[in-house]
Structure formats: C-alpha cells, structure tokens
C-alpha cells in the first residue's frame, strides 16, 4: 500500500519524460528482443579475432603489404554506427555540404496527436506521474499496474 502512495507522489520532470521517449525509440531499433547467444552463431567462414585488434586509422592504405587475412581481422573488430560516425568526422564538414547528420527531416508543423498507451484509441488524459496518455479509468489502472515508471530505472 505504501508503495502505491509513494509512486503517486513522484512526478517526473520533462527532461526525464523526453529521455524515456528517446529510450523507447531506441528500443524499437533493436534487431532482437533478447541478446543473441554469441557462441552459437560463429560460422567458420571468418577468421575469429583472438584478441581485440586496434585499428590504426592513420595507416597509409596505399602500401599493399597488407594481407587478406589481416584485412579480415581488422574488419571483424566490431564498431557500431556511432563509433563510425565519429571516425568519419562528417560533423566537421562545412555546413553547406549535406551529410548523414544534416538530412534528417525536421519537426512536423502539426501538433502531435494523443493516443492511449494501453488500448491505442484517442486519449484525453495524461498520467500525472510519467506523462503517458490514457483514455479511461480502466486503462489508467492497467497503465499504473504495468507501464508507469517502468522505463525510469
């Protein structure tokens, strides 16, 4: 009982709410819900790195001494898109040159519509605590039991 009262008194500020929305959007980009069990999927076609290899970006690539094996080993070092974006230095390009970072579409001219986070129909109310929308008392109850404050931790 006391837990429920605590939850109702906590109000998340706008920054945290935005952060939660962003977190949710990032979740939607995932390939798999659960982590892929790494060991099961290693195929024999690629040389597997024994230890992490530092990629030397300043290396002069015109020297053709590098072997195929070495190339593959370099590539098997996993780098995510953010690391690659940083490495490509496209953020330092002059502003008149369009890049990946500048082509993202801007905000809509129209205000966002509000949908119930539980049933998906139009919603008129938002949760006092987390700001998610709901349409009826019934949906609010479901929301409080399941979703409210679940994303904050």
């Amino acid at each position: 009982m006391s837990k429920k009262i605590d939850r109702r008194t906590v109000v998340l500020d706008q920054t945290t709410r935005n952060k939660n929305i962003q977190h949710h959007l990032n979740e939607l980009e995932r390939d798999n819900y659960a982590e892929v069990p790494e060991l099961e999927i290693v195929s024999g076609t690629m040389t597997k790195p024994r230890r992490t290899v530092e990629v030397d970006t300043s290396q002069n690539r015109k020297t053709k001494a590098r072997s195929k094996k070495e190339l593959l080993r370099q590539l098997s070092v996993k780098r995510n898109l953010n690391a690659l974006l940083e490495e490509s230095k496209i953020d330092q390009f002059p502003p008149n040159i369009p890049t990946y970072l500048t082509v993202a579409a801007g905000k809509s001219r129209f205000p966002p519509r509000k949908f119930c986070s539980v049933c998906g129909f139009l919603a008129n109310y938002s949760c006092k605590t987390c700001g998610m929308k709901y349409c009826s008392v019934k949906c609010l109850e479901t929301h409080e039991e399941t979703r409210c404050m679940k994303y904050t931790v």
Partner: protein
C-alpha cells in the same frame, strides 16, 4: 498547369538525346562487357536482390544470419532460410545498423554464401559487380566496401551507387497511366521507404539534389518492432517472435484513408467490426504459416482451443500510420507527405547552372513521384500519399504518384537496365585501377554521396 517554353525545349532536347542514346547503345553492345559477367546486387538491409545481367527477375535473399536459439543450434545464412520450417524464436544477426553496413563479419558470411556454387556460382575475378549502398554512406564505410570487394573478393571491376539512383534508370513514365510524356522526365522525386529508414530524394537530370534530400528515421523494422510491442502488451507475448510478427504486419496492416473514422469504427465495437481480422498464429507443428481466419468460422471453431488467434483491430492501421505521423510514437519528425513538400521546396533554382523557373520546377516534381521500397506494399499507401499531398501542395499543381508493380525489386530492374547503357562502362572501377590509385579513384568515379557530384557545385 501551364508549362513554359523553356521546359518544353528541355523536353525536346532530352527526347533527342534519348534517341541518339538508343543508337549509341545499339552499336556499343557489340563491344560491351558480356552481360552474363555482370552481377547486379541490390544490397538491402533486410533482403538482397541479386541476379546476373541476363536474367529478367532477381532472386530475393535474406541479408542476415539467423540462428535458432535455445537447444537447436542451427544457423541459417541468406537463402538457407527457405529450408527452415520452424520460425519461432529466431535470432537475427543483421549486417546493417540503422541502414548502414557496420557488421562486416555477418555481411561477409552472407556474401560468401551467395557467391558460392550453391547460389550464384560467382567467380569474382571474372565478374563485374554493380552494388548498392545507402544514401549518404559514410566515407569510412565506403572505403571498407572498396577494400572488401577488391582485396577480399578480388572482383574484376565494380560500381557502387544508391538504390534510388538505380530506380530512376527505369522508364518511370510507364508508371503513370497517361501518355503525355514519352521522354524521361528531368525531375523525379523518389520516395524510398525501406527496412531501416525512408528517404525522399529529388533527382534533376539523373543527378540527386543533395541539399534537398530528407530522411525519416522510420522503416519496416521499426514498424514490426512497434507492432510486436503493442501486441505483446495487449494480447500475447510476441517479443521473441520477430519473424512471425513481420508476417502478421505484411498480411494484416494497411494504410488508412480516413484514420480518425477507422479508429472510431474500431472503438465502437472492439470484438465485431468491419476492420477486425482474426489472425491464426502458426504453431509450427500443424501449420507453419499463419493466416487470416474467416469470421464465420469463429463460432464453429470455438471448441478448438489449441488455435491461437490474434485479434487485429486498430493495430491494423495505427502501425503503418507512423510513416505518416511519426509524432504518434513521440518521434520529432514530420511524416512522408509533409517531408515530400519540404524536400521539393528545398530544391532552389539557384542550385542549377542553367536558368529555371521555380514554379515549373516544383510542378515537375509533384507530377513525377515514384514510390519504392518494401513499405510501399501496404495497401492504401499510394492513395494516402496522393490524398495528403493534394491537401499540402499548392492547388494548381498536378500530382502524379507512380508505384512499380514490385517496389522491392525496382532498383534491381533499374540496375539491369543501366548495365546495358554505355555509361556503365565509364563508371566501372577496375581492380587494376584500384591497385594503382587506391580508393580515391572510387571516390572520383562513383560520386553520389560525395559533395563533388552535386549539381550546385558544378
């Protein structure tokens, strides 16, 4: 809509060029690279569309490694998925992240498989490769493409471009039902809505207008994941069943023409309305393919409690609706029709070395819109874009939206068309050129994605 003499002149000129080109192609074919040695490979984030130049249709192959989790340790690479019968709980390993190729280990595994004897029986040393990359590919990723293709596979020669550019190598005029224009239009707007994101790309005279390109960070993957999430929250836990949910999305979802009206229909009676569909989930013992059940059967089959039924109500149209209103899930971006208008307005006459009238230019874009990419297959997608654009665009512009019969393989078809053109030979970078000049030759020849290829910088 009136067209100025200037534009008409350009049309006549391009018409003339077209005819000259046809003759040129005819004489060139004799000395041209043998088409059976050209492999056209549209390297999509979800599927690879590839086949040799002599074929009419590409093969569509999953661009991923898929592993069966828990106990069964089988891995399916690319086309091997066709031999899979149990699609429950598959783990995906995709080479692409947010539309860009980051995981080369997986990609090389898939390519090794499709170049092998079992699939394409490809000998890279005698093969010319035409491959696609995403828009605004990062320079360091492009470099890796070059390295992999020339150093790891040792292809004879290759050309790298974007899928949307290949799309406009098709005869786009045949997509519209009128015969007003026979020549290739000078201005085409491609809306490419794929697995990772949606790009709006205006082309002028076969070249992309880079400052006017726009990206919406919504693609098929996000839609599937969103559907998966709301279904798991409301009905069954499907979080691990990405493959199954993708099939549900493909068979049930549609783009609503009257969103609020449909929503009201669903709300009035949530268990019996004209929109509701009953999707029978596959159980992978008796049926490996889910299907939509006829409503009549409901009472009869009520006793068969082992059939798992998913009720698709407002989920059917609220999911594709995100493409039109990303703000519905809190994304701070505009939807496709609004971004089309934004993109067309961003094409300025100052960007061209020749004088153009801004109004004529915009009119040309509005009347030459091409929809490609897997998301175009949602029913009602095309008419919704037409409808929304009619509201947003100035009233005196004609709006023509065209969609190819198969929007997924359209880029491949364009590529297949392009390899018969003489320009293809000029664009190819051979392995010996690469070994001599390094990746700079690729930057110089391939263009798109680099500032050098922009009309405004000429």
């Amino acid at each position: 809509m009136s067209q100025s003499n200037q534009i008409k002149k350009i049309y006549l000129l391009s018409n003339l060029f077209y005819i000259v080109n046809i003759f040129y192609i005819f004489f060139n074919r004799i000395t041209f690279i043998m088409l059976e040695n050209v492999l056209v490979l549209d390297n999509g984030a979800y599927t690879i569309k590839a086949e040799y130049g002599t074929a009419q249709q590409p093969r569509v192959i999953h661009n991923c490694k898929i592993a069966r989790g828990k106990g069964d340790k089988k891995t399916f690479i690319g086309d091997q998925l066709n031999s899979c019968t149990d699609f429950s709980g598959l783990y995906y390993r995709l080479p692409f992240e947010k539309g860009y190729l980051t995981n080369w280990e997986v990609e090389k595994g898939v390519w090794d498989r499709i170049f092998s004897k079992e699939v394409f029986n490809c000998d890279p040393k005698n093969t010319n490769l035409l491959i696609t990359e995403p828009c605004f590919n990062l320079p360091n990723i492009q470099r890796t493409y070059d390295e992999i293709i020339f150093e790891a596979y040792e292809f004879q020669s290759y050309f790298r471009t974007t899928a949307s550019w290949l799309c406009i190598q098709n005869d786009t005029t045949s997509l519209y039902n009128d015969i007003n224009f026979s020549a290739k239009p000078d201005c085409i707007l491609v809306v490419d809505s794929g697995y990772s994101f949606t790009h709006i790309i205006p082309f002028v005279m076969n070249r992309p207008v880079l400052p006017a390109i726009r990206r919406i960070n919504i693609g098929g993957k996000l839609l599937t994941n969103h559907l998966k999430e709301i279904v798991s929250f409301r009905y069954w836990d499907m979080m691990d069943q990405t493959y199954v949910m993708n099939e549900v999305k493909e068979s049930c979802c549609y783009v609503s023409q009257n969103f609020l009206g449909d929503l009201e229909t669903c709300r009035r009676n949530t268990r019996n309305n004209s929109i509701l569909r009953e999707y029978v989930l596959p159980d992978f013992s008796r049926n490996s393919q889910g299907y939509i059940r006829e409503k009549k059967c409901r009472e009869e089959s009520y006793d068969q409690s082992d059939e798992q039924v998913l009720y698709m109500n407002n989920e059917r149209f609220t999911v594709p609706e995100i493409l039109f209103n990303p703000s519905d899930i809190g994304m701070k971006q505009a939807g496709i029709p609004e971004v089309i208008v934004e993109s067309i307005n961003a094409v300025l006459p100052e960007m061209f070395p020749f004088p153009v009238n801004e109004v004529d230019l915009q009119g040309l874009f509005y009347s030459n819109i091409v929809l490609v990419g897997g998301n175009s297959l949602f029913s009602g997608y095309k008419s919704r874009i037409e409808k929304d654009l009619r509201i947003l665009a100035p009233t005196d512009f004609e709006i023509r939206v065209g969609m190819p019969e198969n929007p997924i393989t359209y880029a491949w078809k364009g590529g297949n068309n392009f390899i018969t053109m003489p320009e293809f030979k000029e664009k190819l970078v051979t392995r010996s050129e690469y070994l001599e000049f390094g990746y700079n030759i690729c930057i110089r020849k391939f263009g798109f994605g680099n500032e050098t290829d922009d009309l405004s910088n000429e």
